[in-house]
């Protein structure tokens, strides 16, 4: 999260970032209440909780590929920009043989099932869109970590979510390579690999320590 925010404020050229998580984590949207999360269960299962700088819902980050795309050149319309940037994911999934489609406002589906959720923010005349491409989904575990009213944790509801959400059963590297290929194709550009310098990492760490790890930020709503 800290690196995403750092990129948002410090990039002149467009950036595609592809990453995973060192351990499972729940991210909640900027506007969500922490009441959505069962912190006790998360602690028991060694799952971190973090608040995003973007809106949208709670996401259980586990078996997935996460990406961020940062650009100063974007459509002003929210829906339009989601559609344009999500094309990176759609083309990548098509390369992997999946019939991916944009599902407004912020999802990508394959065979009517959500396989990718996205969220945006705009700051400093720059747009950040980050999203998660599900490789596999553990709906039971996700339900156990989120505070869903008991009556909603029925077999039927778990089945409903299972019917609406799916993993794409590809490897991290397959998706990562496909994302790079689709970005090259869509923007007609070459990608230049960049490793964050010590100074950049220091700034990100400062953001992680002073903002994203701070309870004031996590529990702000």
């Amino acid at each position: 999260m800290a690196i995403d925010e750092y990129l948002l404020y410090n990039c002149n050229d467009p950036v595609l970032r592809i990453y995973g998580w060192s351990k499972p984590c729940i991210s909640i949207g900027y506007f969500q209440s922490t009441d959505e999360v069962d912190f006790k269960k998360c602690k028991e299962q060694n799952v971190d909780v973090i608040r995003r700088i973007t809106g949208g819902g709670a996401v259980f980050h586990d078996m997935e590929v996460t990406y961020s795309f940062v650009t100063k050149d974007f459509s002003q319309g929210i829906m339009e920009s989601y559609k344009e940037i999500s094309e990176i994911v759609i083309q990548a999934l098509k390369e992997l043989g999946l019939d991916a489609k944009f599902s407004p406002l912020n999802d990508v589906t394959v065979n009517e099932k959500k396989v990718c959720g996205n969220a945006q923010t705009r700051k400093n005349n720059t747009l950040l869109q980050h999203g998660t491409i599900l490789l596999k989904v553990d709906v039971e575990k996700m339900f156990s970590l989120l505070r869903v009213p008991k009556e909603k944790i029925s077999d039927k509801n778990i089945l409903d979510v299972k019917n609406r959400v799916a993993g794409i059963s590809k490897t991290f590297d397959q998706v990562s390579d496909a994302l790079k290929n689709s970005t090259r194709d869509i923007f007609g550009c070459e990608l230049v690999s960049h490793t964050l310098s010590d100074k950049e990492l220091e700034s990100c760490q400062k953001l992680a320590d002073e903002k994203f790890s701070d309870e004031k930020w996590t529990f702000k709503r």
């Binding site: 949207g29 900027y30 506007f31 969500q32 209440s33 009441d35 700088i53 973007t54 809106g55 949208g56 819902g57 709670a58 929210i78 407004p104 406002l105 912020n106 969220a119 945006q120 923010t121 705009r122 700051k123 709503r221």
Partner: protein
């Protein structure tokens, strides 16, 4: 605590709206029963507002506002004038607040 002297009623309201984009909006609201003035309000959910920080401005701005359609609408329109919202609109938010506070 003497409840007769305290005319403040805190209602914790959970309302979900399923709109075409399927977002959920929850409102926690407290208001003075006698004057019908909002004391505090928290609007949470999986919706989107750009810029995000306007939600705090909106919540602060609604404090001190009377629970009447016109006042709420005017304040929201003023604060959200330059914002883009996905997941609810001003009309539905006003309706939610008024219905949960006694269907005005």
């Amino acid at each position: 605590m003497n409840h007769k002297l305290d005319s403040s009623i805190e209602k914790i309201i959970t309302v979900s709206i399923t709109k075409k984009l399927g977002k959920i909006v929850k409102i926690n609201l407290s208001y003075k029963e006698e004057s019908q003035i909002i004391q505090s309000i928290k609007i949470t959910g999986d919706f989107f507002i750009h810029p995000e920080e306007v939600i705090e401005e909106l919540e602060q701005g609604l404090c001190g506002i009377k629970l009447e359609k016109e006042y709420l609408e005017n304040k929201m329109k003023l604060i959200l004038e330059d914002s883009k919202i996905f997941g609810f609109d001003i009309d539905s938010l006003v309706k939610m607040i008024l219905e949960t506070c006694g269907d005005k």
